[in-house]
């Protein structure tokens, strides 16, 4: 037992002595939470608009003014031809161009609308944003003529952004609500706050990377420096060496988890609707899984360089890309969906979303918990089986 404690003390010292790494370990979650919480949004705002017209009619003038009065659009230029407008868009000086078509303006004064047809030319390189911009523009242009409720189509499309914020919801030109189709109820996240979605995702990503990377490096470093030989030959059992190595990282990961949860709850107002006990238990299972993965990497890698590249790049990409944290798994091709089924963070993120946000009981996440536990058991078994008690 004393040996065990002294082992843990030694590992803890390794971690604590490296101030810079410590700083990053705790700074990373905080910065990520702040960035995602406050800086990264898909709101339609400050869209650079160019108006193509040779002749400002009062109607056009009115529409343009309404447009620039809104917080969504900023008129950056008025040009004479669509070609010029396109050049501006291509040169990244503008995002959207409005081209009035004067065909009906005088002949159909009774028509609903401003009496002016618009053609909207939009930079489509980002398809989601393009759709949103044009929807917003259409809505504002139409608002001028009729104050009637917008058809649902536009209302719906205005939510086409990935991370709309709550402020946008209240002031957007059209709201989801009653419409011809029926009433819509947004469960668990009525204000559609993106933090609800990404806090569990950040937990899944950071815990995985930190645990896997830190354990694998610390073991491989001992191999590289030659101290592993001494540890192996000592009377201490290899299993204990591994467990002792894992415990400080478990504690560290736990501390990071607490930091994320506290920040999420108090700074970003993310609910902790479910049982905290289960959140912690599932997280611990997940941390164990990440530690086993780290151990496995350390068994494969002979040098720190390889261990680092394996965990920082080869592991990072599937975790970020295939776990459903940024991109929905359902939209992927079938083959990738199968692969994604083997990505552990996917289940953890899902379980956390349910426990934290939806506030369900453990029964509803049983599936995820079982899969995670099984994966942990398998990975741990493989890692322990391939752990070499001898040199190559």
């Amino acid at each position: 037992m004393k040996t065990f404690l002294s082992f843990i003390l030694k590992e803890a010292r390794h971690i604590l002595r490296d101030r810079r790494t410590m700083l990053i370990l705790f700074g990373m979650p905080i910065v990520l939470m702040l960035l995602f919480g406050f800086a990264i949004t898909n709101d339609v705002r400050n869209v650079r608009t160019v108006v193509v017209t040779s002749r400002m009619s009062p109607q056009i003038q009115a529409s343009v003014e309404r447009l620039s009065a809104s917080e969504y659009f900023t008129i950056v230029a008025t040009v004479a031809t669509p070609q010029e407008a396109e050049r501006l868009i291509r040169d990244q000086k503008a995002d959207i161009a409005l081209i009035p078509q004067h065909t009906h303006s005088q002949s159909l004064p009774m028509r609903v609308g401003s009496g002016c047809q618009w053609q909207i030319m939009v930079d489509g390189s980002d398809p989601n944003m393009a759709q949103q911009w044009s929807t917003y523009a259409q809505a504002i242009l139409r608002d001028s003529g009729s104050s009637s409720a917008l058809p649902l189509k536009e209302g719906a499309a205005s939510f086409d952004g990935r991370i709309p914020s709550s402020t946008q919801m209240h002031s957007s030109p059209s709201l989801i609500g009653n419409s011809g189709g029926g009433s819509i109820k947004l469960l668990y996240n009525p204000q559609m706050r993106s933090a609800y979605n990404f806090v569990p995702a950040i937990m899944g990503m950071l815990l995985m990377l930190i645990c896997a990377m830190m354990t694998s490096i610390s073991i491989v470093r001992e191999k590289e420096r030659g101290t592993m030989e001494v540890l192996l030959v000592s009377p201490v059992r290899p299993l204990m060496v591994i467990v002792a190595k894992a415990i400080p990282y478990l504690v560290l990961a736990f501390a990071i988890l607490v930091v994320i949860l506290l920040m999420g709850h108090y700074v970003l107002d993310v609910p902790l609707a479910g049982s905290l006990v289960w959140i912690v238990i599932v997280s611990v299972i997940y941390i164990l899984l990440a530690l086993s993965l780290g151990l496995l990497i350390s068994n494969i890698a002979q040098t720190q360089l390889v261990a680092l590249l394996l965990s920082a790049m080869v592991l990072l990409m599937p975790v970020v890309m295939l776990s459903g944290m940024l991109f929905p798994i359902e939209s992927m091709p079938q083959v990738l969906q199968w692969i994604a089924a083997f990505i552990p963070p996917r289940y953890y993120i899902q379980a956390m979303r349910k426990l934290m946000i939806m506030g369900v009981g453990i029964h509803e996440v049983l599936n995820e918990v079982i899969i995670l536990s099984a994966m942990t058991a398998v990975l741990l078994t493989i890692a322990l089986a391939t752990f070499k008690v001898r040199l190559e």
């Binding site: 040996t3 002294s6 082992f7 030694k10 010292r13 101290t227 001494v230 000592s234 040199l391």
Partner: protein, 486 residues
Amino acid sequence: MNAIEVNHVSKSYGKVQALNDVSFTVSPGEVFGLIGPDGAGKTSMFRILCSLLLPDEGTASVDGFDVVREMKQARRRVGYMPGKFSLYQDLTVEENLQFFATLFGTTIEAGYDSIRAIYSQIERFRHRRAGALSGGMKQKLALSCALVHQPRVLFLDEPTTGVDPVSRKELWEMLGTLRERGITIVASTPYLDEVRRCDRVAFLQEGKVQGIDTPELILERFAAVFNPPGLEPSATQSQATEKVIEVSHLVKAFGTFRAVDDISFEVRRGEIFGFLGANGAGKTTAMHMLTGLNQPTSGTGKVAGFDIRTEYEQIKHHIGYMSQRFSLYEDLTVAENIRLFAGIYGMKDSDIKAKTDNVLRQLKFEGHKDALVRSLPLGWKQKLAFSVSIFHDPAIVFLDEPTGGVDPATRRQFWELISDAAARGITVFVTTHYMDEAEYCDRISIMVDGQIRAIGTPDELKHQFQQPDMDHVFTFLARQATRSSD
């Protein structure tokens, strides 16, 4: 029952046969030496005995337990200090020792007696991080860590590489007391005086046991390997008076600690200058200032006519350097390393090519031109590193413990290379812990506690301190060190 039994053990790595049908036994309480040139298979033998490697053929047992089948029991009974043992750089001296003590189920207090002689020398640094210790002190700490517990059988793979002569004597005295307690010790060493302290030695060469006997008989039988005829003291005593190194009142302080404390000396062109001193006396720090790796805190110095404080980049054009730690690129081949460093010094491609062949012939390396440096035995690497450091014909070459851990025959060859270089007019500035090598130097300085306590030719020094040889001169001076009692 024998403490160790090795029966017909063979081990090969791919095509390389490291051990070939090796058998020997060691009785309990014996000090057994495992000696032989680099690459003879000593480290593989140690690893097999420690159950770190599986033998391809044959069996081995330690304290009655088979190292393959009864690994757990065997591991409980052995202590092992690997050749490239390194400590946890970010832990302090005391934390390292404490960790290893606990690892072996003991405490510093309980084991203190058995490490006192060595640990007391570094104890005053116990709150310093191991990474900040000098090379020799690290080795002493590593030794303390290995010896703090008392296993049934102790394996030491070249434990004294880089350790100064005085401390080596103390270590072997310690091993003597362990032996009295019935601990079996197997050690490998390139030092002949240490070989003589063993009860029996096994001489390994190319993976085969050439002979097992008392040290005297083995050293006699294989005198060609162990006791090569001494080198003629360089007859071409340089008469030049031109000074290539001039140093006056040089100081390097780290905080309040003065690693180099006001040293002054001169070195003439073509001299072989031995820069001796105990571990931690400040040799490497002084050398770093002379080679422009470090800035002095105060004092002045000129190397090859350039100021070490301001013109250190010019100095670098005129010197060669071989560090304590092997520092060629292990993932490049012999020829590629030569080409790289020659190229850095601005040599022409055609010159490099011609000279490479020459040097390789001189080193008898022709067949290994395209071998990765990683695959060479230590002694070869060191010879190569030296040849690389003088490849561009520098005015001065600085060698920091160039022969640490190298076997006697290779050391002898190494010194031939050194005297060749000196004969070509290259000034050689060398540190060493081998006192037989000190005798080959034209002049010697001995550093103690950051200061130069003696300087002169070997004969002058022996005369001055009235000692029979350099070993005694060194011991006499180094024992006056006061730093350890700070």
